[in-house]
Structure formats: structure tokens, C-alpha cells
Symmetry: C2
């Protein structure tokens, strides 16, 4: 609600910031400072913490714990009303943000006079078959944590497995994307593995394969050629295989196929590619370009007087008539922090009826960590490599960390990590996989006779062939199962071992349920239960079974 103060100046009394990353958090801080107590500044975020994005590869490698890569928003934002909520929609006409709070199902409407959108970007891997289903990401704290647990799980498995192809797949680690995130992730991951191997005597270092797949002819595209070459040499020297000029054609739970036709046995695929607008941002229907919200040079969303955007979700022109990639602000923490200061100044000016200023900033440089205490850095035109660059990287991010408490904690932990062995504790057992899609390539074995029965399968597209050996005659029976068909139902009847071998005879997409889910559906849906009754009773089963 804009109203006139006694002195006749346009006033705004509610500013709402969406998102608590670098852009949103620093914008809320700066707004609070500039506008004083007369204006209510509110920040809405799905998590109650600020996550220090550049540290995610370190969390993924266990050199710091997840708790040390974050800081409570309530702690950083004194004087700002912090609301932990899911953003549902924005009504730009009525100037209302609708959110859902916690498990509460009643929507809450929040009025704003100025709105700041700083929600960042999401990931969309759906363009590559199987990648969405089978790749790990590196976007959230949870992603980073999951990566660490997954890597340790592979070492545990390789230590005890007696199946050579399983061991090979478990010990092959693939990172897709040679940007900052991919390079830092692959470097840190290699270090984690190297430092953990002493606990896994049955794994020979030569069996470990860590690779970085990049579509472009070089890595670290945003950095000068010389530094990128240093980084590439460093990674190669430390045993990371670089696959340049290489894209990903498809992925399954056990393999990755490159655009060069190579088929790699790997159970670890980390995708650092595929930036895409978050669904909540896409739903807002704001003008966009290259998948980001189009703003003017003053960071105001085109066509809106009181809606602003910054950070990764916004496309911010650095000059008039911006067109080339370099004419727009890059999606980095360094820029987001500067954009936040500008947006606060401009909103304060708009509130007071004064003119706004264009955002102007020139990068002070860029830094990347490569693992094993090495890095590359370009600052104020100076190029650094190796240990000094790594120290600079750490110091820079330490300085950027908000809050002295967090800074000290991270420093202490980094020091402890350099001194001692890294813990190989795998904190969370990977949960029993719930209902999920899986992708198999022609020729892939879905399961073999004697395997553990771990899922009920329904074919969505493609086809599989089931091979069953008659226990009496010894004859082999083959059965083709296409779309709409299903297999693995003996699991539901309590079988713990497969009696048949199933192989994909085409590229195949299936839906997999575990036994618990299947029985819940049979209990909850009479139609589901009755559909399967003939199958189950033909197999001599009581249906539905007595005890879940």
C-alpha cells in the first residue's frame, strides 16, 4: 500500500524478499539498514538457513560438515521478519504473495508494496534420457550431503564385492560439466576417495576411476585459458580423467553413454549441468529471456514498477542494448552481493520518489578450488595457481561468509580436516528406494535368477525378455513383456529371490514399486487389489496376504 506521508513523499511500508541465498539475504540486510524501522522487511525462504553455495563441493567431500556450510537466517537478519514457508504464487495485480507454512494446509496471503525476487535457479535434466532418474545433483545442501554418503557407499561396496563388474561400476565416479561446480566437485571427490582408501584394503588405487565429462573443448570456460589449462593439468596429474568435447547421450543406474559412443560402467553420475528456471518462478509469468527474469539495468522487472529481481534467477544487463553473454551479470555470489546493495538503494530511492541508478560492477576476478590444496585464481588481473590460489580461495570465501561465528567454525573445521584423517562414516543409510522410474538400455540385465527380489516392475515403454528355466525339464522358456505388462510379482508373495532372468530387448522405461508400497496399494485400492488377484491366486497365494 503506497500512501502519502505528512511530508507528501510516497511511502511503502511492506517490502517482501523471496529467497534467502546470496541475493535475497544480502538484499534484506541492506534494505533493513537503509530503510530503518518505518518499513517492514520480510524475507521468505523454504529453509530457515542461508546456504553458502560455494562450499557445497567441500560438503560433498566431507571436508566440512553440512552444518558448517549454513547459517540460520534469523541470526543473520536481525530486524527482518523471517518466514519459513513454501511460496505458492504471486498476484502482481493485488500485490499479494501466497505461501504455505509448514504442514499447515491453509494458504497464507502476504501483502507487499515492493517485491524482490531472488529465488535462484533450478535444475532440469529431462532432456537426456535416464539422467533425471539416475544422476545426483549439486544444487542444495541435501544434494551435497547425499553425494558424500553415496561415494562412501560405493567404497564400502567395492571393499566387499566379489563381482568384478559391480566393483568396477562402484569405483567409477563421473562428474558432468566442467564449470566451477563440476571442477570443484570432481577435485574434492577425488581427494575424499584418496584419503579414504586406507580404510578399504581390498581396493587398489588403480581400480578407482574418476572422470569429468565436458561438452566444450575446455574446462572453466569463465576463466582465462592459462588457468583453465593449469586446472586441467592438475586434475589429470591427480588421476582425474578429462573427457572434453563429450556430451552425455543417456544414463542408467549402472552406465553412462557418451555422445562419442563410449559406454562407461559407473554407479556415480553427478550432473552439474542443466540450469533451468524454478517452477515457482516460471509460474509467475514474468517477462523472461534465456530462462531468466528480464530486468532493466536498475534491477526492476520489465513492465512492473514495484517488482525487482536479482541473482541467478534474473538476467541483468550490464550495459544498454546488452546481447552477448558477457553483456549480462554472471550468476556468481560475487555479483549477487553487489546486486543486493544496488537493489536496496534503488528500492529506497523509489520509496522516496527519487531516481534509481543502473547496476554497475566489474568482476574483481574468479577463483576455483581443485582439491588437494590447489586452486586457480585471477584477481585484479593477476593470475595465481597452486597452493597460493587455494589459500586465496579459502580466505575469500571465509571473508564472504556471513557472521563471525560461522567463520570461526568453518576455519576450525578446515584446520581439523588438514590435520587429521577424514571420517568415513556414512551417516545415512541410503533408504530403500521408493516408487521410481528406471531406464534400461537394450541388452541391459534388469535382474538375474538368484538375485534378491527388490521390486515389482511395470513396463511403460520398450520391452524386456524374461528367461525361465523349467526346474523339471531343464528347458528354457522365453517371454516378451511389453508396455502395460509387468514382472517380478513373486516378490509380493514374499519371495526373496528371483527365479528368472530379465533383460531389456529395447531401450526400456519401467516403473518400480517395492513390496511395502504394492501391499499398501492393494489395501487402499480395491481396483488395484482385484486386478492382481488372478495373478496372485494363479501362483497359489492368499490374496491379499494376511500380514503386511
Amino acid at each position: 500500500m503506497l500512501h502519502r506521508s505528512k511530508k507528501g513523499i510516497a511511502m511503502a511500508d511492506r517490502i517482501v524478499v523471496l529467497g534467502g541465498g546470496f541475493g535475497g539475504m544480502y538484499a534484506a540486510r541492506a534494505l533493513r539498514k537503509r530503510l530503518g524501522k518505518s518499513v517492514r522487511v520480510e524475507l521468505i525462504n523454504a529453509d530457515n538457513y542461508f546456504v553458502f553455495q560455494p562450499l557445497l563441493p567441500e560438503v560433498g567431500a566431507g571436508s566440512i560438515t553440512p552444518g558448517h556450510a549454513v547459517s540460520p537466517l534469523r541470526f543473520l537478519l536481525r530486524g527482518v521478519f523471517v518466514r519459513k514457508a513454501q511460496i505458492d504464487s504471486v498476484d502482481f495485480e493485488r500485490r499479494i504473495v501466497t505461501v504455505f507454512q509448514g504442514i499447515q494446509r491453509r494458504p497464507t496471503e502476504l501483502r507487499y508494496d515492493h517485491l524482490v525476487i531472488a529465488l535462484g535457479q533450478g535444475v532440469d535434466l529431462s532432456r537426456t534420457p535416464g539422467l533425471e532418474e539416475h544422476a545426483l545433483k549439486m544444487k542444495t545442501l541435501e544434494d551435497a550431503r547425499r553425494l558424500r554418503e553415496h561415494v562412501i557407499e560405493q567404497l564400502e561396496h567395492a571393499q566387499v564385492s566379489q563381482v568384478p563388474e559391480t566393483k568396477r561400476g562402484a569405483l567409477t565416479f563421473t562428474v558432468i560439466g566442467g564449470g566451477f561446480s563440476g571442477v570443484e566437485t570432481v577435485g574434492e571427490m577425488k581427494e575424499l576417495i584418496d584419503r579414504s582408501l586406507k580404510f578399504y584394503p581390498r581396493i587398489d588405487p588403480s581400480e578407482v576411476r574418476v572422470q569429468l565429462v565436458e561438452f566444450a573443448p575446455r574446462i572453466l570456460n569463465e576463466m582465462p585459458e592459462r588457468l583453465a589449462r593449469y586446472a586441467a593439468d592438475h586434475l589429470t596429474r591427480h588421476g582425474v580423467e578429462l573427457k572434453l568435447n563429450t556430451g552425455v547421450a543417456s544414463a542408467t543406474g549402472t552406465q553412462l553413454v557418451t555422445t562419442t559412443g563410449e559406454v562407461i560402467d559407473t554407479r556415480t553420475i553427478v550432473a552439474t549441468i542443466g540450469n533451468a528456471p524454478l517452477p515457482v518462478v516460471a509460474r509467475m509469468g514474468l517477462p523472461s529471456q534465456h530462462g531468466r527474469i528480464a530486468v532493466d539495468r536498475a534491477l526492476r522487472v520489465r513492465g512492473h514498477q514495484n517488482v525487482w529481481a536479482l541473482g541467478d534467477c534474473a538476467l541483468i544487463p550490464l550495459k544498454e542494448g546488452a546481447e552477448a553473454r558477457g553483456d549480462f551479470a554472471p550468476p556468481t555470489a560475487q555479483f549477487a552481493v553487489r546486486e543486493a546493495k544496488r537493489i536496496a538503494r534503488n528500492i529506497a530511492a523509489a520509496v522516496r520518489g527519487k531516481p534509481v541508478q543502473p547496476f554497475a560492477y566489474r568482476s574483481r576476478g574468479s577463483l576455483a578450488s581443485l582439491g588437494a590444496h590447489r586452486g586457480v585464481a585471477e584477481v585484479f588481473g593477476l593470475q595465481l595457481t597452486g597452493f597460493p590460489a587455494w589459500v586465496l580461495w579459502r580466505s575469500y570465501y571465509l571473508a564472504l561468509l556471513p557472521g563471525m561465528g560461522t567463520r570461526i567454525k568453518v576455519m576450525v573445521n578446515w584446520t581439523l580436516d588438514m590435520l587429521g584423517a577424514r571420517s568415513v562414516v556414512q551417516l545415512r543409510a541410503l533408504p530403500r528406494p521408493p516408487m521410481r522410474y528406471a531406464h534400461f538400455r537394450e541388452g541391459d540385465i534388469v535382474y538375474e535368477a538368484g538375485h534378491r527380489s527388490d521390486g515389482f516392475y511395470s513396463v511403460i515403454s520398450g520391452a524386456v525378455e524374461m528367461e525361465r528355466k523349467d526346474p523339471v525339464t531343464g528347458e528354457t522358456h522365453l517371454r516378451r513383456i511389453g508396455p502395460g505388462g509387468h514382472f517380478g510379482e513373486r516378490l509380493i508373495l514374499g519371495a526373496t529371490r528371483r527365479k528368472t532372468t530379465v533383460r531389456a530387448v529395447e531401450d526400456t522405461r519401467v516403473l518400480v514399486l517395492n513390496r511395502e508400497e504394492f501391499l499398501m496399494l492393494a489395501e487402499g485400492f480395491p481396483a488395484f487389489r482385484e486386478y492382481f488377484r488372478p495373478y496372485m491366486e494363479a501362483r497359489g497365494a492368499e490374496w491379499p496376504p494376511k500380514a503386511g
Copy 2:
């Protein structure tokens, strides 16, 4: 395989220990030490870490991080072969343990000469309606972590909620069971809340309700009366409500009903009751008593020459003709550590053809922490209370922690916690609830018109009434939905808000699916898809919808 050595002594070359808790971990250590390199000692555990069970309430309250309550088994057990695997079954005839390793589906068979079972106990809450579905547990590290996140989530929600009954439910915290685990959990939880409130200015301390529900007329049944009374007084003085002589009749997602007929609005129920054999132990079919494996005084499973058991999963008589509860070893870490030493001596004796000895140990005392730096302790007949007891508690468990590294880390963290504010970071967003059962009491509202559409419901037992206001005539239509019926299908068509209000008219059990799961089932199962086609098409929908 028992065979004769050159000197004619019976030899065993493979000892397998199942379980890596206090009993199993210390047994493997002692076996390694006693038997030297001639015998292979292998320990199998589902996790690759030892969890320091007595610290779980501290993890639940965030005074230490999960990583500091655990230690890698590979680190603690040099010389022991550690296998991270799921135990499937034991064939006592063939002396084979069958396990599954990681995501590998091929079973692995492991031969043993002596088997040590130290798998602990599980939890079964199914006797109380709704408790299994709606209560948190305190048995694993993951449970403890989840509790902390859940408590912070309630504070976040109460801070922003404008619905009084929602706020009341969010700020009511209930712990069931007045044993060590329940008392420590409730004390630590109260401290966590008290210390966090300064970040939540909209929560008045008087709105917080923390309660402990215990069926018996007193808490800490294993401790002397005087100490239990001190503990009760301390908790009461610090604002914990004690409900003695009170059992739990039923639970829902928002309420708890006691056996005294009280209905409590609470969104946090922590159950520390319901110990039951783990399914894997029950499946072994060993002789059992009171749900635990029956062993003789030498810790040998009755009827088996080479199978041994200790810790919480075993019922260990402390004297001949044991019958009363006090005649058996209590399920504590203190006893498990002693049992481990005895079992290693006895197995070494059995291997060498020498006589085994009965387990004999008298408790040196017991300790409990009460939160807020207070505790109760009984040691060597001495009774301590308050701060000295708390210091003793911490020191004792610090001393019991295996590995100097872990000890130092825990001590540093405890110190940091005493000095600074506790972080209110809620690390993991609670995931979108997957397919699940829910329990509603007669009269409960399942959802209201205007609420977020968050699930598709199918009635298993009981009945609900759906109230729909005709938008034209303003008339109210009522529809009863009983077993086999379903409601909430507009969610599937993309609706984000409820148009009807649904109330349970009997005690009702439902299955709830989220939209994603429903669409996956519609894609994967033609029968499911076709069953729902009339419903969806009658509502003017394209079925199945184009984009998942």
C-alpha cells in the same frame, strides 16, 4: 569349519559377529585381541559406523552434531574385517550367513565357525492405533536427527502461524515413556526449545508445553526412588509436565489421546517405548523368551554349540534358575561391554577345547542426564544429583566413547555448546510425504475448503463425510465415503485448493498418495489408469494428463 590343528586342538578359523553396537563392536575387538591373526574375525553391520546410543538425546537436542555421536567401525576395528551389509538370514545347519551388500542384488554367503549375534532390539508401536504412523522414535541416529529437525520445524511454524489451534499443536511436545531414554529426551528437548526461543519473538514461553507420559506411577524405574523423585522435581521445575499413571490410547497427526481420556493437541509425539525383536532376529527362529534370544549363563544360545548372543537382543541370566526381571542382565551399554569381554573369553576357550565361564557382573551404578546441566547418578552405592551428577554423566560417557579422536571432538563440541548459542538451522526440509497411512479419530477434520490440496485419499476402514457447498444455490451437500471409497481426486487434475470439507465420522484409516505418485501409478499401471478414467473424465479432465 572346525578342524584339528597339529597339536590336536579343535580350531576355528572364522568368527562372524552380527551387529556393530556396544555388544558387537566390543566383542569383535576382544576376539581380535584374544585370538590373534590365526582366526579371521568379521563384523557385519548395516551401517559403517558405531553409534554411541547414550548420546542420541543430545543429538536430538542439537547439543552435538550427528557426526560426533558416531565413529567409523573400520577405524575402531583394526584387524577385523568389517562388512557393511544387510543380514538376510542364517542357516545354522550349514553355518552360513547370507547377506546383501549395498545395492547389489546377488546374495553373498559367508561361512562361520562361531557366530555372535549382537543385533540389539527394534521398536514395534503397532499395538496403539496411530502410534506407528504418527510417532517419532529414538532408536537410531536418523531418529535423533529427525527429532531435532522436527522440533525446529514446529518453532518455525508457530512463529508465523496465525491459526491458534495450529500454534497450540505446534508448541505441544510429547514424549512417551519415562525410562532413561524418555527422561533424557524430554529434558534435552526442553533445553533446546528454551535456548531457541529468542529467535522466535512471536512465541511466548508460556505457550510452550512439554510433557512426559509414563504408564507407571513413577519415572526412571531402574533407579532408586530418591533419585527418580529428584529427577521428577527437576523436570517439573523446568516446565516439563509429568503425566504418570497414564498410557496412550491412540494418536493422530495432530492429537494424542491418553488412557485417562485426555485429548492433547500435539504435533510432536516421541515414543521411547515398544521394544520388540528385530524382524531379522525373529526370522532366525532361535529359542526366545520375553522377545529376546534365550542364552545360557555362558552367553551361548540354548541348543547351539557355536552360536552366541549378547546385548539387548539376548536374555542373559545372571544366576541359575533366573526368573524375575532382576535376575537377568539389563539392556545397558555398561552390561553389553562386560558381556562382550566374557563372550570373547568363552569363544576363545571353546575354540581351544577349554571350559567356558558364566557371565557375572554387578552394575556399578546408573546415570541419567536431565538437560540444563543437571543429572542424577548412583555410583558404587553413592547417590548424586544436580550439576555434579551431570558432570559425572558426561565424563562417564566420554570415557566410554571409543577412540581418542571422537572423545576430543565430542568434548570440543560440548564446550562450544555451553559457550555459545545453539544453532537453529533446520538442516533438512521435511520431505514431501510419500505414500502413507493416516489415522483420524471420529470428528477430526481431514481437510477444509480452501486448504492446499496435498493428497489423494482412499478409505481403508471407517468413514468420512464430505461437505460441499453448491456455488450456485448455496446449498450444502453431504456425501458419506466408506471403505473402498476415495476423495481428493481434484488434486490429480492439478487443483491446488480444496473445494470441500472432509470430516471423519468414525475412527478412520486411510491411505494417502501425493500427486506425483498417483500420476506415476497411472502411467505405470493401465488397470489403475482405466479405473480412474471415468472419475477424471466426468470432471472434464484430459486423462492421463499430458505432462507429469
